[in-house]
Structures are given as C-alpha cells and as structure tokens.
C-alpha cells in the first residue's frame, strides 16, 4: 500500500510574455511506506515545485496527490498534520531560542498543552540539543541550527518527511548530521521523500529514485532497475544517458542518428 501517490501532477505559471510555463508537467509516482525516495534532477527540473505540491504549500494546476489517504488539494491541513517538511533554506527565528521555536510549532500542530513539554524535551534529548536549547537562534552555529530545524520538522511526529535539498550548501559535518538523521528516521519506519542534485548521496541512501528533467519524470525505480534500464553503472552516467535520450542525443552529447 503506497503511502504517497502522485497522479499526473501539473503546476503551471504564467510567464511575462503571456504564455504558461509548466514547472511540473504530468508527474506520477507512488511511494511505499517506510522507504526513502529521492527526486533527482538539475536546477529548474521541478523538484521543489513537486515537493511543495505534495506538502500542500501550493495547489496543483491539475492532477492530484494523496498522502496517507488525504487528498492534498482538497484537504491540505490534514496532510500537513501528517508530514514534516524540511528545506535547505528553512529559516529559524533569530530572536527565539530553539526551545521556544519547538514550543511554538508544537502549538501550531495542535498538540495538547500537556504533551508539548514532553515532546519538546524528548526532541532536545534525542538530538542532543541541551547545550544550546535556550540560546537565541541568531547565536547558533550552522550545525546547531541544522539540528534545530530537524527537531522543528519532527515536532508534529509526522509519518512522512519531505526534505527539499536538505544538504544543499552544507559542510561535511552538517551534511553528516543530516544523513545520519535520515537513516535513523528510516530505521524508525518513517517514509522520506527528498530532492537533491548530489547524485552520489542519493545513490547511497535512497531505496527508489525518480529522475526529473524539465518538469517531467524521465525514469523511476530502484538503483538496479535504473541500471538495467540504461545499461550504465553509476547514477551520474545513468542520468546523462537518460537525459541525452530525452533530448535525442547520445551520452557524449552527439545527436542520435
């Protein structure tokens, strides 16, 4: 039983010259509960827009997405309750402390007042945030901020985690915090969908991978399926091959006969 189902998702924006641009153009995929799914593609491929539609942040122009039995377009708030959304540029309130931020979001997620303290304490424990839980966020290091953001995404105890470019522009240490976290959440049975353009990273942690380009899903499957499909070994080679095919070129950029 897939926990996430996207069916012909499309999002169109008007362009200044009056035409419509399809940022996401008929994307369909299914994600089984408890797996890690990676959306890969270059900048502008439509990954962020797809994730935003899944998260109920923007409404699809057409098509639908179902998460945990709720239609995102019809009932975005039910969906938002069951997901945690983390982006690379997820900002934190500089003038609040991590503890205050967690309390704030716990309230917004509608946690009962008596549960809030437990949940927040638990997250601070779990992500080892004691040393900085009561400092203002403006004074934290990147790694500490990263941990705060993760705790923030987990505060509503989501069953699905959506992560948009979670490792974009991070140093090695912060990167490791994120990857460790993804693995741990995966071990706890959570479903994770993430987007990235770091191919190696995707190769190591994702159960299934969707390759996006120009708003379309070019190919999708496990690593083995993708290798079989393209006949290439490395994910970067697979991507270039498929990308070339889509463009009508071979892997060296020469047009196909």
């Amino acid at each position: 039983m897939p926990i996430i189902r996207a069916n012909q998702l499309r999002k169109s924006f008007p362009t200044p010259n009056g035409t419509l641009k399809h940022a996401v153009d008929g994307v369909s995929f299914e994600i089984e509960a408890g797996t890690i799914y990676g959306l890969l593609g270059p900048n502008g491929a439509g990954k962020t827009t797809t994730l935003r539609m899944l998260g109920g942040l923007i409404a699809p122009t057409s098509g639908e997405a179902i998460i945990d039995g709720h239609n995102v377009g019809e009932n975005p708030f039910a969906v938002k309750h069951s997901i945690g959304f983390l982006t690379a540029n997820t900002g934190l309130y500089q003038r609040l402390s991590p503890r205050e931020i967690l309390q704030y979001f716990a309230r917004l997620y509608g946690l009962a007042p008596e549960r809030i303290k437990n949940r927040v304490d638990h997250l601070i424990d779990w992500l080892d945030m004691h040393s900085f839980a009561d400092l203002r966020c403006g004074a934290l290091s990147t790694g500490q901020k990263q941990r705060t953001s993760i705790a923030r995404a987990l505060v509503g105890d989501p069953i699905v985690l959506i992560m948009d470019e979670p490792t974009l522009g991070l140093d090695v240490l912060s990167n490791r915090i994120i990857l460790d976290f993804i693995r741990r959440e995966h071990d706890h049975g959570k479903t994770i969908i993430l987007s990235t353009h770091y191919l190696d990273e995707a190769e190591t942690i994702c159960d299934r991978i969707g390759l996006m380009h120009g708003g379309k899903l070019m190919a999708e499957g496990t690593m083995q399926e993708l290798q079989a499909l393209s006949g290439e070994e490395k994910l970067s080679a697979i991507f270039l091959k498929l990308f070339g095919e889509a463009q009508g070129e071979d892997e060296n950029g020469r047009p196909l006969a």
Binding site: P14, G55, F77, K80, H81, L96
Partner: protein
C-alpha cells in the same frame, strides 16, 4: 420515534461541539501566532526604538523646541535694542538744532507724552512704545542709506530741512529708511513709526485743545479688537495645528516596521515557508500577524498620546501656548482620542500588511510603503492647514477626517455625530482593507513572492470565470465608491443657483452610473457571470408575495421606529425642516416625478449594488447574518443622513434577508420600491393621507394603533413567508 428524535438532538449537539472545538482550535492557533510574533517583535531593538524611544523623545523635542524657538524669537524682536542712524550734515548750521539733538528731543517729548497719557488713556498708546523709546540708541552716520544697507544701524532717519517744506511750513517731514529684506530692520522701522505716530497724534491733540475742539475728532471711529476665544481654544488652536497631524502620522508609522518585519522580513529570513508548512490556514497566520501589527500601532499611538500629554502638562507648556496663561490641556479627551484611533490603526495596519506581503525583501517593502505614506500625507497635510473644517466630505476622507477629529477633540469639541461619521467611515475602510489583506496573504503569489503568479492574479487572461464576485472585489469597490459617492452628493446639494429638484435629477442620473455601471464593468472584467452575481434570475412567487407584504407594510414600523428614536434622542428641528424644503422641490410636478426619482431609480440601483453586488461578494466567505448586517450598515452609511441610520440599517437587514433567502434581486427591488413609493405617495398626494387619517402628520408623530398593528403584521408575515424554506433543498 422518541429515540430517533434524541439521536437527532445528539447529532446536532455533536455537530455544534465539533464546530465549537474547531473554533476554539482556530482561536488558540491565532493566539499562539499572536503571542509568538509579539514576543519576537518586542525582542527586537529596532521595534523598541521605533515604538518607545521615538515618541518619548519626539514630543518634548517638537513641542518644547518649537514653542521655545517661537517665544525666543518673538521676545528678542520686541526687547532688542535698536540703533537709529542720523545723517551728519557738516553744512547744517550749528546754531540751528542739530539733527541728533532734534531727534533726541523729539523722542524725549514722545516718551513724556506717553508717560503722561499712560494713566488715563492706555488704549490710545502703543503699548510697547515705552519700551521702544528706552531701547533706542542714536548714532551719527555719513550716509544713512548706506549705513542701513550695510547693517551699521537698523534704521536711518532723515529730517527734511525747512527750505524744502515751503508749501507746508508747519509740517515736519521725517523719512525712515529701512531694509525690507532684514526682519530686524523692518520691525525697528515699524516701532519707530509707532513712536512718531504717537508723537504726531499728541501734537494734534494739543492743537485741538488749544482751539477748544474735542479731541475725539482725531478718531471719529475708534477701533480696537478683542479676543473672545476661551484660553482653552487658543491653546487648542495651537495644539490643533501640528499635534493631531503628528499623532496620526505617528500611528501610521508605528505600523510600518512590524508590518515589514512580519511579512517581507519573515520571507527574507526564510521563515515564512517554514510557517506555511504547518497545518495552519494562511488566513489564521495573517490574522495573528495583522493583530500584532495593529497592536503595535495602537501601543505606539497610546505612547504618543501619553508622551504628548505629559510634555504639555508637566513641561508647563500649556501656559506658553495659551494667550492668557491658564490653559490646561484637556487631558480627559486623550483616552477618547485613543479609542477613535483604534479603527484608524486597524485600517493602516491592514494596508501596510497587504502592501508588504508582496515584497520579497525588507528594502522592497520599504519601497512599497513610500507611496502609501505619501498618499496619507496629502490629506493629512490639507487637514492640518488652518481653515480646513470637519464637515461635508472632509468627514469621510481617510486620514484627513482623523486629523481633523483629533484637532476638534483637542479644541474641546465632543460632537457625537461627527465622531460617529468618522468612526463609521473609517470602519468601512478598515473592514475592506482587512479583507483585502487576508485575500492577499492567502494567495500563493504572496507566500512565495513570485512575480509571475502575482501578475496572474491581476491579468484577465488567467482568470477563471466564476458565478460570484470575490469579497475583495466587492469590498474594495465599495471602499472606493463610498468617498466618491459622498463627494458627488455634497457637490450636487441644492444651492442658491441650483434647486432641490436639480439635486434629485442629478442623483437619478448619477446613481445608475456609480452603483450599477461600475460594478457591472468590474464583473465583466473579472469574468464574473453578471446574472448570478447580481441575482438577476427570477424568484419563486412566494418571495414576490413576501416582498409585496414587506414593501406595503414596511413604512409603518419604519415610521414608528423613527418616532421612537425621536423620543429617545430628539432630532433637531432644522434637519426636519431642511427635509421639508427638499420635498418642496416637487411642487408643480406630477406625482410620477417624485415616484421615479425617489422610489423607482434608487430602489433599482441601490438594490443592484448593495443586495446584488456587495451581498453576492460576501455570500461565499461570510456567514449569513454577518453578511446581511455588514451590507445593511454600509447601505445606511451611504445615505449620509445619520439621523436615519438606524431605520435605514433595519430596512437594509430586511431587504438583505429577502435577497439572501430568495437568491434573487427582484423581491428586494420590489419591496424597496413599494416602501419608497408609499412614503412618496403619502407625502405628495393629500387625498391618500386624508383617507388614512394621516394628514398633517409630522414625521415624529405616532401613528394610530390599528395602522401600526396592520403594518407590523404585514412585515412579520412577509418575513415568515421568506423564512419558510424547509421544503427546499439548496
């Protein structure tokens, strides 16, 4: 059977509980957002400076500074020693009186005379002449003109010699040379002139006495001006010129920083997306944030008032700004002003939040704010000019009405009617602005500040055809149309040249343009289906029956309500009489003229606009009774005459109910037309009034009991018919 009924009650109870619960949750979330935003904002040093330090420092600086500067300058000019230059003429014979000694003697004489006259006739003396003379210094110069021009002396005096005055041997001629470009030279010249005038008058007086003539012929008409203004008014006048403007502008500026910080600032820091991820409807986010901005603006206004009051009260400046020295700032009006400022602060907070929502960065938001501030400064500046009064259209111009009202209140005026006008119109604007802001904030364009989708929300190409206008469109149109319509109404009021009939004719021409054509064009532009938006589809016969009953009987309870209101708070006679003058416009006209101009055209136009356009706009987003009451109040405000506010609003509620139930505009047009038509017929056809025993009935008299009973019964029956819609499934 019994059990079934119980389940039903349980169900309904359960539904109500869930609704209550979700309402509670919503309120709790808004409160959470509100508390957090306020905490965060107050932790920001910049907010604290803008909100607390600036107002506390501003008023002492502004008031002490300007009052001090004025008094110092004024005082200096009056008490300053002045230098008079006298031409040194070497050819002037020594034995004849030298110029210097001549002037000295003249001045001494003048002083003596002034001294002598001080006791018995102080009014005739230039009051500061005495000081002037004692503070004059005489110097001898070679060239008077040059000396004055170079500033060696303030004024120069040239006495003309005897030879030059042969034709008037007895007249002394004195020429005062001064530099008009120099303020001090000019004031010295005027002081010296006063001295010579006094001297001259006294010489004349001496001559008159010698000739045995009464010396009042010097002044056949004696003029003196006396200030009748109360000291409070004098102080208030001065308070009235800058303080209200500063107060109003400070309330506006108080909203700027939080509005930017909570919208564009939040987006710039990347926290807005985080917030949108939460299961909180954007409207709640917006409400929480908006309330914070409004709170900060109110706190700012309160601090401004306190600071202003304290500066004036404890600084002793009330004495300085008043003429007589015992003015007290009317401290008790300050809380009232604060209450009046609440809708105003809400209005500007909403505008600021809506404007800033589209900005991606702090800087961009500041650029968007500038035009808003400029737009507020213009009416504010006009209001601060002396002579602008809180009357007519001015009471409805945003910012201007608030500045003028604050001034009136500082002057000690408490006209409840004016306050109501200003408050109500500000509430209309504030309500529209809040709706717009909430609409703006819930669009994706505002959340991601995506210029392409922003464009899409205004470009017709991307609009989807709909059946009902949005509340934003309806409210913005109303908010813009309201002052325009007020202006039109005031400009066509009967004058000496224009008869009252002309007013009615113009209204009949302009009403279809403003109230029908404008909404129809807007609906067409926004691809809203006009038939459904204005409720032009037919109504069930039942509603027509209801409309006829309400229309025929409605004037009776309306009349009684007015009579009742009159006993509670009597309507000024002048207003009733001016109403009669208006009605006299239709003398010598057939009955169809008032019927057309008062009953038919207004009924059609007003219904199409209020119950058609505006109520349709609110149908989707607002609860039934809220929508009906809002529309009824706006309908009543549009009628200018505030004494009829209650009645018009009640009528509006009934018409709105009729329209809401029938989903058609025709029943309410019919009821409105009949209601106005009967009132016109009774007023203009004496035979109808006589037959009903209503001839010579004043609008404040009560109707006979049986008529009241019939009329009320008709209206209640009409409402009951409109209400019974159980058989219908909608």
């Amino acid at each position: 059977m019994k059990r079934k009924a119980k389940t039903k009650t349980d169900d309904r109870w359960h539904k109500r509980e869930t609704k209550k619960n979700s309402n509670m949750l919503m309120n709790r979330r808004i409160l959470t957002i509100y508390t957090k935003e306020l905490t965060e904002l107050l932790r920001d040093r910049r907010t604290l400076i803008a909100m607390i330090v600036v107002p506390i420092a501003l008023y002492p600086l502004l008031i002490i500074g300007s009052v001090h500067l004025l008094s110092v300058q004024d005082g200096e000019r009056k008490t300053e020693k002045m230098t008079i230059g006298i031409q040194y003429d070497p050819e002037y014979p020594e034995d004849k009186q030298p110029a210097v000694r001549h002037l000295q003697r003249q001045l001494r004489t003048a002083r003596n005379i002034i001294h002598d006259n001080l006791d018995d006739e102080p009014d005739n003396v230039v009051s500061n002449g005495l000081i002037s003379i004692e503070r004059m210094e005489i110097v001898v110069v070679n060239d008077v003109e040059q000396a004055v021009a170079l500033g060696a002396c303030h004024v120069g005096v040239v006495f003309q010699t005897d030879d030059e005055q042969e034709d008037h041997p007895a007249q002394q001629r004195v020429i005062i040379k001064y530099d008009k470009a120099e303020l001090r030279s000019e004031s010295a010249a005027s002081r010296l002139r006063d001295v010579f005038d006094t001297l001259s008058r006294n010489l004349t007086k001496e001559i008159l006495i010698q000739q045995n003539l009464p010396f009042w012929i010097l002044d056949p008409i004696h003029v003196s001006a006396e200030n009748v203004a109360t000291p409070q008014k004098v102080g208030g006048m001065l308070l009235g010129s800058i303080v209200p403007l500063v107060l109003v502008l400070m309330t506006i500026t108080g909203a700027i920083y939080p509005a930017i910080d909570l919208t564009a600032g939040e987006r710039e820091r990347g926290t807005l997306e985080t917030l949108i991820v939460c299961p909180v409807p954007p409207v709640e986010l917006m409400t929480g944030k908006y309330l914070v901005v409004a709170t900060v603006a109110m706190m700012g206004a309160a601090l401004n008032l306190i600071s202003m009051g304290a500066t004036l009260h404890f600084g002793g400046f009330t004495k300085m700004i008043s003429a007589s020295g015992d003015t007290e700032l009317p401290l008790e009006v300050l809380p009232v002003i604060l209450i009046v400022l609440i809708p105003f602060a809400m209005l500007f907070s909403a505008i600021m939040v809506a404007v800033c929502s589209y900005a991606r960065t702090f800087k961009e938001a500041q650029n968007y704010i500038m035009p808003v501030i400029l737009a507020a400064l213009i009416p504010g500046g006009v209001a601060a000019m002396p002579g602008t009064e809180l009357s007519g259209i001015n009471a409805y111009v945003p910012v201007m009405n608030m500045v003028l009202l604050a001034r009136e209140m500082l002057l000690g005026h408490f006209e409840l009617l004016t306050i109501t006008k200003v408050m109500l119109s500000t509430c209309v604007y504030a309500g529209s602005a809040v709706m717009v802001a909430s609409h703006v904030f819930s669009t994706e364009a505002a959340i991601f500040a995506d210029s392409a989708s922003l464009k899409a929300s205004f470009s017709r190409r991307f609009m989807q055809p709909t059946t009902l206008p949005t509340s934003t469109l309806a409210l913005i149109t109303t908010a813009i149309l309201f002052p325009v319509w007020m202006f039109v109404q005031f400009s066509i009021q009967p004058t000496a040249d224009q008869s009252a009939l002309h007013t009615f004719q113009m209204t009949a021409w302009l009403m279809p343009l403003a109230l029908v054509l404008v909404p129809v064009m807007l609906l067409a532009y926004f691809k809203v289906q006009i038939v459904s938006a204005l409720g032009l589809s037919g109504a069930k016969p039942r509603y027509i029956v209801a409309a006829i009953l309400i229309g025929l009987g409605g004037w009776i309870p309306a009349h009684e309500l007015f009579a009742l209101q009159n006993t509670i708070s009597p309507v000024p006679k002048a207003i009733l009489e001016s109403n009669n003058t208006l009605m006299s416009a239709f003398e010598n006209q057939g009955l169809w003229v008032p019927l057309l101009l008062i009953a038919v055209i207004p009924a059609v136009c007003e219904e199409l606009f209020f119950r058609g356009f505006l109520l349709s706009g609110l149908r989707k987003s607002t609860k039934k009774w809220t929508a009906i009451i809002i529309v009824a109040c706006v309908f009543a405000i549009f009628h200018i005459i505030l004494i009829k506010f209650v009645i018009t609003a009640v009528l509006g509620i009934v018409l709105g109910y009729l329209c809401w139930q029938s989903r058609s505009i025709f029943p309410s047009i019919l009821a409105h037309m009949l209601h106005n038509g009967i009132a016109v017929s009774i007023a203009f056809v004496p035979s109808i009034a006589e037959r009903m025993g209503l001839d010579r009935l004043a609008p404040t008299d009560h109707l006979p009991g049986h008529i009241i009973a019939i009329g009320t019964a008709m209206v209640i029956a009409g409402i009951a018919i409109a209400k019974s819609d159980r058989a219908e499934v909608t």
